[in-house]
Symmetry: C2
Subunit: 220 residues, 2 copies
């Protein structure tokens, strides 16, 4: 499938992403990143002007990977509801359950506090994600597959919940374990107004009062 071997800038971006996500941006130096990509720092500086440049490239790598994956996964689907459902499923798997992605976003968030350029980049990405979801929800609504008061509001709530879960996963890794995938996904589906995917959930839960972010009870 892959036509050519990835270009050196692409490899370096990927290495930067991988190491940043593993040891933190400040915990990695340029020699390590270059080594990870199989070259040395001299070559790295041929392609990038500074570490800051590399951080931006790592972000771009993340954006590209995310968008490409979603596209690949739903491009063959035509039913609006299925498209929405599958997108959510992929997002949960890649954004929440993948620890590298969680850590990387965390790093970028903190960096964003003090770096307007990085912040604007992420903001743009985030806006595109939101717009994408809103489009999916509206399409699904038109097709009569779900009923939701305000699509924008619902999507915003769902995305905020995702961020909240991400954060909590830091302190309670079980929340985002593969074993919990179903519960997380169902919680988010619920927020978007989608019916439960498994008609009979694995674990009986009391008829929940309102939209509930699935957080394991046993943690105190």
């Amino acid at each position: 499938m892959r036509r050519t071997t990835p270009s050196m800038p692409a490899r370096l971006s990927a290495s930067a992403f991988a190491l940043f996500a593993q040891q933190g941006i400040d915990g990695v130096n340029l020699d390590q990143i270059a080594a990870h990509a199989g070259v040395t720092k001299g070559s790295l500086y041929w392609h990038f002007r500074s570490k800051h440049d590399l951080v931006k490239a790592a972000c771009a790598h993340y954006y590209r990977t995310y968008q490409r994956r979603i596209n690949e996964e739903i491009t063959h689907l035509t039913d609006p509801a299925e498209r929405l459902e599958h997108t959510l499923e992929v997002a949960v798997r890649t954004c929440l359950l993948d620890e590298a992605n969680r850590v990387f976003t965390m790093e970028i968030f903190t960096l964003s506090v003090h770096d307007a350029e990085i912040r604007r980049g992420w903001q743009q990405f985030y806006d595109s994600v939101r717009a994408f979801y809103i489009g999916l929800v509206k399409a699904a609504t038109l097709a009569g597959a779900l009923r939701v008061g305000d699509p924008e509001q619902a999507v915003n709530l769902m995305l905020a919940a995702m961020e909240g879960i991400k954060l909590r996963a830091l302190f309670e890794p079980d929340i985002c374990s593969p074993a919990e995938e179903a519960r997380v996904r169902e919680g988010l589906r619920d927020i978007l107004g989608l019916p439960p995917h498994h008609p009979a959930p694995l674990r009986a839960r009391r008829p929940s009062r309102k939209s509930a972010i699935p957080i394991p009870a046993g943690m105190a």
Copy 2:
């Protein structure tokens, strides 16, 4: 009210917190922190063994400040519902609307990813906060002031929403502007099952479908 001038370790902790929250942990060096407290690095190292120690002290400063403020604010209240309501109000003002606190927690979260000790400290603090809220909710429920299915679940959802809002505030500062204080607070009250504080909200909103984290609509 203040009996004695604060001890030097306390002043250093406070300075560390202030500067960390302003410029980030990696963006501040020990000379700056010492200078902010009116001493020099030599003295700093008399009280703390390392920068890591100082970070822990800054966290402890945050914990203390938070808990003391809440206590002071509700100690004179006896009605369970009022205690819960006032706690929420203070939390919104100090955790969400105060940018320094937002930035500091962000920094600590990222640090927590790679530092088990800091992580455990925060986890403990977080547990105590959750337990505190659950106690308040249960008391208010017993007093018949509110009806909520599962207090633990509601509190968890509310706290997760808080974190989500904090994160989004990074990219949309308006969310946590003083002007939005009321909306944020009402949204969280709603999650906890508390009735709206102002019977007639300033701005008419459609009868919300389910518990809605108040996120301004105009952002796309």
